[in-house]
C-alpha cells in the first residue's frame, strides 16, 4: 500500500523540485492533449517551449510579456503572504492603465520626457484606488475581499469600455474604439533598437529586490507575514491586522496599476478594449508557482509568458483554440498544488504485516481511522515528547 507520511521538517529539496515536477506533469498531459486533438505533439511542444526562446528577439518578446506578470506577481506575493486574497489584480491593472492613459493624453509635442514618471505614478495610484475600494469594504463592513476584488474586475472592464467607446475615442480613429496613439514623449522609453523591451523590465527587477528586502529584512515585512501565518500571534505581538490589510491591498493594487501603465504606454501605445488579456489572473498562478518568493516569481513569470506566446503561436500555426493558453496555465497550477504535498509529506510503500521502523525522526500521518481522537489536543505531541527523552 502507498501512504503519505508527514515529514518532520519540510523538505527543502522538494520545495525546489516540486515546480519542476509540476512542469513535467504539465508537459506530459500537454502531449496527451495534443495527441487527442490530432496534432503533432512534438510540434506542439516545440511551439510552446522552444519557439519562445530560440532567438534574441524571441527572448525580448518573452521578457516583454513577462514584465507585467512579474510586477503584478510581486505585489500579489506580498498580498497572499499576508493572507489577503486579492483576486482582482486584473481590475487594478486596468484602472492603472486608465489613469496612466489620462496623463499620457495630456502630453503634446513639446512635453518633456519626464512625463513618463507622472504616467507611471498615475498608474500605480489608479491600481491603489481600485484595490483601496476592496480594502475599505473589507475593513469597514468585513466584506469578503475575494468577491469584492473579483467583481471590481468587471466594473473596471466596463469603465474601460465606456471610455474607449465614448469620451476618449480618437476623433481621427475611423470610429474604432480606441484612444489616439500616445505622444512619443509619453511612451515608455525602450531599452534597445529592434526590441519592444522598455524600462518596465528594469523597474520589475528593482521590484524583485525591493520586495525581497521588505519581506525578509524589515520588521514591517515580518509583521505583514505573521498576520497571514498566525493571526493570533500577530494580535499577541500587537501587529495591526488593519494595517496589514491595507498594506497588502495597496501594494498589490499599486503594482498591478504600475504594470497597467507600463503596458498601455509601452507595447500597446494606446488604450483599447484589448488591454485586458488576463495578466492579472495569470499573475496569481505566477505568484504561487514562484512560491510567493520574489526570485521564484522571476522564473514563473518567464514560464507563464512562454505559455502566452506559445498559445498565440499554437493558434496561428497549428489552428488550436486560444484557450489552450489557459489550459496550460491551469494544468501547471493544479500540478504544482498536487506536487507541493511532497514538501510536507512523503510517499512510503509499506506492507501492513511487517512494518519496519523508519530510522529518521518523522511522524506518520494516520490516514483515516483516527476519527475524533485525532483532535486530541496533545495527541500528536505525545510521541514527540517521548522521543526527546529516549
Amino acid at each position: 500500500m502507498l501512504r503519505f507520511e508527514a515529514r518532520a521538517q519540510p523538505s527543502t529539496g522538494w520545495a525546489y523540485a516540486s515546480p519542476l515536477l509540476a512542469l513535467t506533469i504539465t508537459v506530459v498531459v500537454g502531449v496527451g492533449l495534443f495527441v487527442l486533438l490530432g496534432k503533432d505533439p512534438v510540434r506542439g511542444l516545440q511551439i510552446f517551449f522552444w519557439e519562445p526562446i530560440k532567438s534574441g528577439y524571441a527572448w525580448s518578446e518573452l521578457i516583454v510579456k513577462a514584465t507585467p506578470l512579474l510586477i503584478i506577481g510581486l505585489g500579489l506575493a506580498v498580498c497572499f503572504r499576508s493572507n489577503v486574497w486579492n483576486i482582482g489584480a486584473e481590475g487594478q491593472y486596468l484602472i492603472g492603465a486608465i489613469f496612466a492613459t489620462w496623463v499620457a493624453l495630456q502630453a503634446d509635442a513639446d512635453t518633456s520626457r519626464w512625463i513618463v514618471v507622472a504616467v507611471l505614478l498615475a498608474g500605480a495610484l489608479g491600481g491603489m484606488v481600485w484595490a483601496g475600494i476592496t480594502a475599505l469594504l473589507r475593513d469597514r463592513f468585513n466584506a469578503n475581499e475575494i468577491l469584492v476584488s473579483l467583481m471590481l474586475v468587471y466594473v473596471a472592464i466596463q469603465v474601460l469600455n465606456y471610455l474607449v467607446y465614448g469620451p476618449w475615442k480618437d476623433p481621427a480613429g475611423f470610429n474604432f474604439p480606441q484612444t489616439q496613439t500616445f505622444e512619443a514623449a509619453a511612451q515608455m522609453p525602450r531599452l534597445m533598437v529592434g526590441s519592444r523591451m522598455n524600462i518596465g523590465i528594469l523597474l520589475a527587477l528593482a521590484g524583485v529586490v525591493l520586495v525581497w528586502v521588505f519581506l525578509f529584512r524589515t520588521r514591517a515585512g515580518f509583521a505583514q507575514q505573521v498576520g497571514g501565518l498566525a493571526p493570533a500571534a500577530a494580535r499577541y505581538a500587537g501587529f495591526s491586522s488593519r494595517r496589514a490589510l491595507w498594506t497588502a491591498l495597496l501594494v498589490s493594487g499599486g503594482a498591478a496599476g504600475l504594470a497597467g501603465a507600463l503596458e498601455v504606454t509601452g507595447p500597446i501605445g494606446q488604450l483599447t478594449p484589448h488591454v485586458p488579456v488576463g495578466y492579472g489572473f495569470a499573475a496569481i498562478i505566477v505568484a504561487f508557482v514562484g512560491r510567493l518568493h520574489p526570485v521564484g516569481i522571476v522564473f514563473s513569470a518567464l514560464l507563464m509568458s512562454m505559455f502566452y506566446i506559445g498559445g498565440e503561436l499554437a493558434q496561428s500555426r497549428m489552428g488550436l483554440p486560444r484557450s489552450i493558453t489557459g489550459v496550460f496555465q491551469g494544468l501547471l497550477l493544479f500540478a504544482l498544488l498536487a506536487c507541493d504535498t511532497l514538501i510536507n509529506y512523503r510517499l512510503v510503500w509499506f506492507t501492513p504485516a511487517k512494518l519496519r521502523a523508519t530510522p529518521s525522526s518523522e511522524r506518520r500521518l494516520e490516514l483515516g481511522g483516527a476519527g475524533p481522537v485525532a483532535a486530541l489536543k496533545e495527541g500528536s505531541a505525545g510521541p514527540r515528547v517521548a522521543k526527546e527523552k529516549s
Binding site: 514591517a220 515580518f222 499577541y236 525522526s361 505531541a381 510521541p383 517521548a386
Partner: protein, 538 residues
Amino acid sequence: MTTPRLQLTGITKRYPGVVANRAISLNVLPGEIHAVLGENGAGKSTLMKVIYGAVKPDEGAVVFNGQPVQVRNPQDARALGISMVFQHFSLFDTLTVAENVWLGLDKSLSLAEVSASITAKAAEYGLDIDPARPVHTLSVGEMQRVEIIRALLTSPQLLILDEPTSVLTPQAVEKLFTVLRKLAAEGCSILYISHKLHEIRALCNACTVLRGGQVTGVCDPRQENNASLSRLMIGAEPPALKVRAQQPGVTVLLVDGLSLASAEPFGTDLHSIALRVRAGEVVGIAGVSGNGQSELLRSLSGEDMRASAQSICVADQSAGRLSPGQRRALGLHFVPEERLGRGAVPTLSLAHNLLLTRRDAVGAFGWIRVGALRRQAADIIARYQVKANGPNAAAKSLSGGNLQKFIVGREIEAIRQFAWPAQELAHPLGGPGEARVGGHVGLLIVSQPTWGVDVGAAAQIRGEILALRDAGCAVLVVSEELEELFEICDRLHVIAKGRLSPSVDRVDASTELIGQWMSGLWDAADQQHAAEADHAAV
C-alpha cells in the same frame, strides 16, 4: 481467578523515529478502577487510542473478557462495551443535551426516549442534568457530565476517562469520584488516565505507571505515597523549589473596576475585576477554565483594547487602551497559554519568533539584523536549555515543553533588559534592590506556564518565575493547576463567572477554600477573608 476485563500484552506502537508504546502489558479486572499514570508524552494517550481502536498497534494482543479481539475502530470498541470520555469534549454548543446525546446513538430511538433515558441515568448516578438545556449554557463540569452520561447510555463494561479532573473544581472532583466508585461497584471497569498523584491514590485500586513508552511499575496506589509514585513516573523526584520570603514593593499592575462584555458569542463577561500586583511578588489566579481567564488576559495583554483606559494601570500609567507593543514599552510582558499560533508562529524559525515581542535586533527603518537575531536566539536556547536544532529550527519542530521554555525565556530576558538596561544580558539576577537600578520594574504575566510540559521543564519554568520575583519583578500567573499556584504564588485570587475574588495569602489559603471560591462563593461566606485580603493588598 476471575477473567480480566481487559488484558493487553506486548503492545508496541512505533511512529517514525519514536516508539510511543514499547511492549506494554496491562491487566484490568472487572470492577477495578485502574489508573494509568505518566507524564505528558509517556505514551498514555497512544495506549488509550489503541484500546479504543483509534490507533492500530504494530505488535501485541488485546484480550477482552477472555476473548482475543481486534479493535479496528471506535465503533468496534463501543460494540465490545468500551466507552471513552475524552479530555476535550465533542459537543455542539448550539444543540441541547438530549440532541447531543442523540447524535451519537442508534437512530431507532426518538428524541423523547433519549431524553427519558438521560433523566433516568442521571438520577441513577446522581448526575444532575436537564436534557432540554442547550449545551452552551452548561458549565464545563456539566458538559463533562453529559459526556459521561453519553458513555453510560451504551452500558459500557470498560470506561476510559482521559484526564477528567483537569476542568473540575475540587468539590466537583469529589462528586465525580462518587459516581465512578458506584460504577465500579456495579462491575464496570474504569481506566483512569491522570498525572495527578493524590487523585489516583484517593480513587484507584490498581495503577500502571508509564515512562517513555514503557511500563515502569504496577502497584496498588493506596499502598504508595506521592514520592514513590513520582519516582516511578519520572524516575526521580522533582527538585523542591526554594521560596524566599520577601517584602513586596511598589504596585506595578493595578486593575480596578475592569468590566468588559465578551467579544465572542459564548465567552465570559468580566465584572468589575480588581487586582494588584506589586514588585517582588507572584500573584496567582486560580479557576476552572472558561470562567473569564482568557478574556481577562486578553485585556491585560492588549490583544483586546476595549477596556477603559483607567481600569488597567501599568507602572502608574493608564494602559487600558494601549496596544500590546505600547504595554511592552511599559515593561509588561505576557506568555500566552497557546504556544503554537499565538506565542510563536509555527512555521517560522525561533530567531524570527523573537521579533514578535522583541526589538533588540531591529535597527533603523525597521531593518532586521539577522546575525544579531540569531545570536539572541542562540543565547536563549543555551540559557534556558531549550532542546532545539539551533536558532533556525521552526517553532513547530520543538516539543511543547521546549517551546514553552523558549517563549518564557524570550519574555523574561525582555523584562531583564527592561529593568536592568545597563547590565549585560548574561548577568545573573541579583537581589530585590536591583529592580529599580534602571528605574523600572518589569511585569510578567503568564498563562498556564506548565500546561502540557514535562516535569523537568515545568520545574525549570517555575524556578525561572521565582527567580524573576526574587529579583524584584512582579509576576501574575493564571493557572488551572492548584498545586502549581500553591507552589509558586505569594497571594491567590480565584476567578469564577467573570468575577475575581479578593486575594488571600498563600499561607492562609487551603484547597477547600479555593475550591469553594471556584464556584463563585466568596461574597457571603468569606467576608472576613475578604477583609483580610484587602488589608493585605493595601
